[in-house]
Each structure stands twice: as C-alpha cells, then as structure tokens.
C-alpha cells in the first residue's frame, strides 16, 4: 500500500516536471533542465526571492509552488511583454501566473477533480507561512538559462 502511494506520488511529480518543461519550451523556445527530485521535510523547505503557490484540493490535497530569483521572472517578463525593469507587482504576478499554468496543465492527466486555487504570491519568506506536516514534499531543482529555481510539490 505504501509502495503504491509512493509510486502515485512520483507519477504526479513527473506530471509537474513535464508541465514545467512544456511551459518554458512553448513560451521561450529555450528548454529548461530539471534536476533530480529529492524529499524534504516541511520544516526545511527552500524558498528563493519570489514564490507563486497553488493550493490543491479535490481528489488530491496539498500544494505546488515555484520559487525563483527576481532575475528569472524579469527575464520571462522581458520575453513576454518587452519590459526590462518590471515592478515588484509584475514580478509577483509572473510568479503567480507560471505556477497557475504549471498546476492547471496537470489537469490534462488528473482531470477536473484535481482542483487548484488562484495563485498565492509572496516575496521572501512570510512569517505566517506554514506548511502542513502531513504531506510528502518533493523538491525539484530547475534551471532555465542561467537561472536556478525550485518546483516544490507537497501532497498528502
């Protein structure tokens, strides 16, 4: 039973990896490199400068977030709308939109009962940020161009 749950969790992580890869390929025509996923405890979760997080409910419960340095989001915004010095609000918006697309695309495989929230975006590590203790958390390192980021999937 535990083995089956583990396989299911890893298969779901694979869907997120594919979704992230597709995002960068389609929108920037530059492939991203995904590192080897590793398990983390909720107390030692990594965050970079800006984070876009999506809550997951329905047939699966948990969260997914993408956290990256300011420069990655600035680079994406420049590609999409040609702004070289975006505002803080633009960077947060970009972090939210990428996490929304990555999570939403997973529904192609998991169906409409894989429900996602609107993005929650933040800079740094807000004090009130708490991760549930009863979830398994996978950290997937991501590299796109020179930028390093994390995709973090936490599921019950």
């Amino acid at each position: 039973m535990i083995e089956r749950r583990k396989e299911e969790f890893e298969a779901t992580c694979k869907l997120f990896i594919d979704s992230v890869s597709n995002y960068f390929k389609v929108l920037t025509e530059i492939n991203s490199e995904m590192g080897i996923p590793y398990l983390k405890d909720a107390t030692e979760i990594k965050l970079k400068d800006y984070t876009g997080m999506i809550g997951i409910s329905g047939n699966r419960k948990g969260f997914v977030y993408i956290s990256a340095g300011k420069e990655m989001f600035e680079d994406l915004i420049n590609i999409f709308i040609g702004i070289e010095e975006p505002s803080n609000a633009d960077i947060l918006d970009m972090a939210g939109e990428i996490s929304n697309v990555v999570a939403g695309n997973v529904r192609a495989n998991l169906g409409a009962n894989f429900m996602i929230s609107v993005p929650i975006v933040f800079k740094g590590r807000p004090e009130e940020l708490k991760f549930p203790k009863d979830v398994s958390i996978y950290v997937i390192p991501l590299k796109w161009k020179i930028h390093e980021a994390f995709v973090v999937v936490g599921l019950e």
Binding site: F80, D93, G96, N100, V101, N105
Partner: protein
C-alpha cells in the same frame, strides 16, 4: 472595428494577449482582472469578442461566462485557461464559449486561435 475585452487576473497575461493580438484590427475597449469588473465593461461597452480566463478570484470564468451570455448574448467568448482537462473545455463550450485555448499561449497559438474565431464568427 472589432471591440475586444481581455479578462485575466494576471496583468502579465493581459498585456501578453494585448501585445500578441496587436496586428489584428481591434479596438481594445477594456481589460479586467476579475469577473465582476468584466461584467461592468460588458454592460457598458458591449464588446464583440472577449478573451476570458477561468481561474480568477471573486468569480470564476465559467460563472462569468454564464453572466456574459445573459447580458450580451452576441459576444464571442474565447476561453484562455491553464485548466487543460476535457471537462472544463466541454463545460465552457456548453455555456456559450466560441473558442478555447489552453495556456501556455504564445504569439502563434493566440494568432491561430483568434484567426479561427474571427473566420468562424465574423465572416467578411
């Protein structure tokens, strides 16, 4: 001139859509970040075409679409969403959407989908 309304809670997405549809002969009558804002613009400006996101705060895109169809049934609504399951697509078409596009969208996919919508719904 065709009147366009862009509805998406992401400002980057709204500006991306605006930029990539720039070569069509369009009058962008408004942009909205929520369904409630969108309905106000629909009432006032009666846009011919509306691009509509689904995952939005306050009012989701499907509920917004239902309301648009009540207020302005002639509007041609193209859903642009990250929710890439079949059920969402079918639900949107059932509620009156005339086009559907999955994010991520780039210049080519937007142009193609928009071109198709124009040819199908607004023949010259």
């Amino acid at each position: 001139m065709i009147k366009l309304l862009i509805v998406d809670d992401s400002s980057i997405m709204r500006r991306t859509i605006e930029k990539n549809l720039g070569h069509f002969n369009l009058d962008i009558v408004g942009t909205a970040s929520t369904g409630v804002e969108a309905l106000d613009i629909v009432r006032q400006k009666k846009p011919d075409i509306i691009t509509l996101d689904i995952t939005m705060p306050e009012m989701d895109g499907i509920t917004c679409l239902e309301n648009i169809m009540k207020i302005h049934p002639k509007a041609k609504v193209m859903i642009i969403t990250a929710l890439s399951d079949k059920l969402t697509g079918l639900q949107a078409l059932d509620k009156g959407a005339r086009g559907f596009l999955y994010k991520p969208v780039n210049a080519q996919s937007l142009t193609k989908a928009f071109d198709k919508l124009l040819k199908r719904t607004m023949p010259q």
